[in-house]
């Protein structure tokens, strides 16, 4: 067993004794074999001295046990790293951001506290995965949908807190925005309930999220300030139908108008599903639609379009709702593009028939899946699968010009820095009004390759920041580098986060270093940077 940095073995043993008394001996894990289970399978530090490893892990079953563990750690300065299910692979998994932390594994807190069919909401504990919730709803014949990420094996709470997203309608596909009400254990063991949960007897915890006074929930997004033990979510009433169709435009110069107009249509609720941008002429020949090539100059792209007869750009709109409403919405959307051609892909009536179930993209219907793992497997097309990947995901302007500029500069920078790219997405619109580029970059179990990769990606982060593009989320190896780029007014965002951290967690025990926020005692020692 290792001891957290800065603690003596005696103090750590004393903390573990108190933790064992609270949760039971069998739920405290201290052997190397046990703690190895919490390694980040996709770590960029694999087998290097800097790899972030747990000193121990503890799996409480109740909020009272969470409070007891937190108090035991707070009294002795033991770093504590809560995880929900730890499946956030590509963004850190179950490993702590600060080596030597005790992982607080909340997988046993897996109760669906409530599903309110009339209100279209639920309350869950952090160990409830999307599959668990789907099973719960199916077994009760619910007509409510969850919105799921892909893969759907993670925790509803964990994914929302990390700002994950899905594929169905607004506002459900932004998982943090779809929450309503939180219960959080603070570093001193006190329980905070946000919104209407602060009013004893209120029956509106999952109806009005803001309560009274400053809105506190955002403090716990990508946070080091508390341990979320309950969270309410709004669920999507199953629509009558699903429809998706494409708007095709022939010329390179059409993209800014296309992006602006679909933005206007989306903001006016003419369609409610996630829009997608593609380029039929660049993806001709069956190229992977999730791997957007570098966009050529306009004259070259127009020449390719003329020669192939394929449109330069395509925007896919998705609609959820009553069929007659969808048809009217689509007719209106088409009227806004007088020079376009249109492709209608599918009208699916709900609930899904068994035949539809076999052919649809399940996450678009709120159905969790693990299928994407089978797609990355060794095959004739992929003879050398990697040891994992991490995600690089900058927020870029939601304009045609912004997308083209980001596509070219990031593609060229990756080539210059020898950063291999598994996937390079089209602009992703999981979050209303925003574009994100999502790149999967392979990691290996080879320290030399990972060292090169870490240095190169830090340079890529700087290049993106120079253009005003900032990551919304990143692997722990880059938490500090990304936080450094949010530097307006001498890093006031980080400094305010630190002030709040010092006030709410003065001993600096919770999620140390996560998202680039370090407690005072480690800032004074220079942190891990």
């Amino acid at each position: 067993m290792t001891t957290p940095p800065g603690l003596t073995a005696a103090v750590f043993d004393d903390a573990l004794r108190e933790i064992r008394a609270a949760v039971g001996d069998e739920w405290v894990f201290t052997t190397p074999a046990d703690t190895a289970l919490y390694r980040d399978a996709y770590s960029l530090f694999w087998d290097e001295p800097e790899e972030r490893l747990a000193s121990a892990a503890v799996a409480p079953a109740t909020v009272e046990q969470v409070q007891a563990v937190t108090r035991a750690c707070n009294a002795r300065g033991v770093p504590l790293y809560p995880i929900s299910t730890g499946r956030n692979l590509g963004y850190g998994g179950s490993a702590p951001a600060y080596s030597g932390s005790v992982v607080l594994d909340l997988k046993r807190m897996d109760r669906v506290i409530e599903v309110d069919e009339r209100n279209g909401s639920c309350i869950v504990e952090p160990g409830v995965s999307y599959f668990d919730m789907y099973r719960h709803l199916q077994s009760r014949g619910s007509r409510l949908w969850i919105d799921v990420p892909d893969p759907g094996w993670g925790s509803m709470i964990g994914n929302a807190l990390d700002f994950g997203g899905g594929y169905t309608a607004n506002p459900y596909r932004n998982h943090f925005e779809a929450h309503c009400g939180m219960e959080v254990v603070l570093a001193d063991g006190e329980i905070l309930r946000t919104g209407m949960g602060a009013l004893p007897g209120a029956q509106t915890w999952q109806q009005y999220r803001y309560g009274f006074g400053p809105y506190l929930d955002g403090l716990f997004k990508q946070s080091t300030l508390g341990i979320t033990t309950k969270m309410g979510f709004w669920l999507f009433p199953q629509p009558e139908a699903y429809f998706t169709a494409s708007i095709n435009l022939p010329r390179y110069d059409d993209l800014p108008m296309l992006v602006d107009t679909i933005g206007e249509l989306e903001n006016a609720n003419i369609f409610n599903g996630m829009p997608g941008i593609s380029s039929p002429v660049l993806f001709r020949g069956g190229k992977n639609p999730l791997d957007f090539p570098e966009i050529p100059e306009g004259a070259e792209m127009d020449r390719l379009a003329r020669e192939t007869g394929l449109p330069c750009w395509s925007a896919r709109l998705t609609f959820y709702g009553p069929e007659q409403v969808i048809r009217a919405q689509w007719a209106y959307a088409k009227s806004r593009f007088p020079t376009a051609s249109f492709t209608e892909h599918a009208l699916v009536k709900l609930p899904l028939s068994p035949a539809d179930m076999e052919r649809i993209h399940k996450p678009s219907f709120g159905i969790p899946s693990l299928e994407m793992f089978a797609m990355g497997a060794r095959s004739a097309h992929n003879p050398n699968p990697t040891d994992g990947h991490f995600w690089f995901s900058p927020i870029i302007p939601r304009t045609g010009e912004g997308f083209i500029a980001a596509n070219r500069i990031i593609r060229q920078t990756c080539q210059r820095l020898d950063i291999p790219v598994l996937l390079f997405s089209p602009p992703v619109s999981s979050w209303w009004r925003a574009f994100i580029l999502v790149m999967a970059i392979p990691v290996h179990k080879d320290p030399a390759r990972n060292q090169h990769l870490r240095a190169a990606v830090k340079e890529l982060i700087r290049v993106c920041a120079d253009h005003g593009w900032g990551e919304y989320r990143t692997a722990p190896a880059f938490h500090d580098a990304v936080m450094d780029t949010y530097s307006y007014n001498n890093h006031i965002v980080r400094r305010v986060n630190e002030r709040i951290k010092d006030a709410l967690d003065p001993n600096g025990i919770l999620s140390v270093g996560r998202y680039g926020v370090w407690p005072k005692r480690l800032r004074e020692q220079g942190g891990r940077k």
Partner: protein, 134 residues
């Protein structure tokens, strides 16, 4: 305290030919070699990576083709919520990785693994915590 050793006390005695393991089929891997003395309660076989002979076994053999979602959701996870149950498998490393992560949530662990040919891996997942020991 370590909880990773195989916790199958109820049937930890080798019973030779009575085991639910594959006997010496010429084209199928020997289960006793990687999990001696252990009764396997079911086998999952990814036909994509192991198109060869299926285990001849009293235990159910659950074939699938690449995507483990339906098999895990309908068959494995409900069973993993109860004590006991030792699962053997021949899959690609990708599927084993997924099952290993999912098994961990149900307090189970990969207790044995052996590479076979062409990307296939033979493995055993068993209870790894006293709370679900069979």
């Amino acid at each position: 305290m370590s909880h990773t050793p195989l916790l199958t006390h109820r049937r930890a005695v080798l019973k030779g030919g009575a085991l639910g393991l594959i006997p010496a089929l010429s084209s199928a891997p020997a289960w006793a070699a990687i999990a001696p003395g252990v009764l396997i309660d079911a086998h999952v076989i990814d036909r994509r990576v192991w198109p060869g002979a299926l285990p001849r076994s009293d235990a159910p053999v659950l074939p699938f083709d690449g995507d483990i979602t339906a098999l895990w959701y309908h068959r494995l996870d409900p069973r993993w919520r109860r004590p006991g149950f030792v699962l053997g498998g021949i899959t690609g490393a990708d599927t084993l990785f997924v099952l290993e992560q999912l098994a961990r949530t149900r307090h189970r662990a990969v207790v044995s693994r052996r590479p076979l040919s062409a990307g296939a891996t033979q493995w055993v997942i068993a209870p790894a915590h006293p709370s679900i020991a069979g």
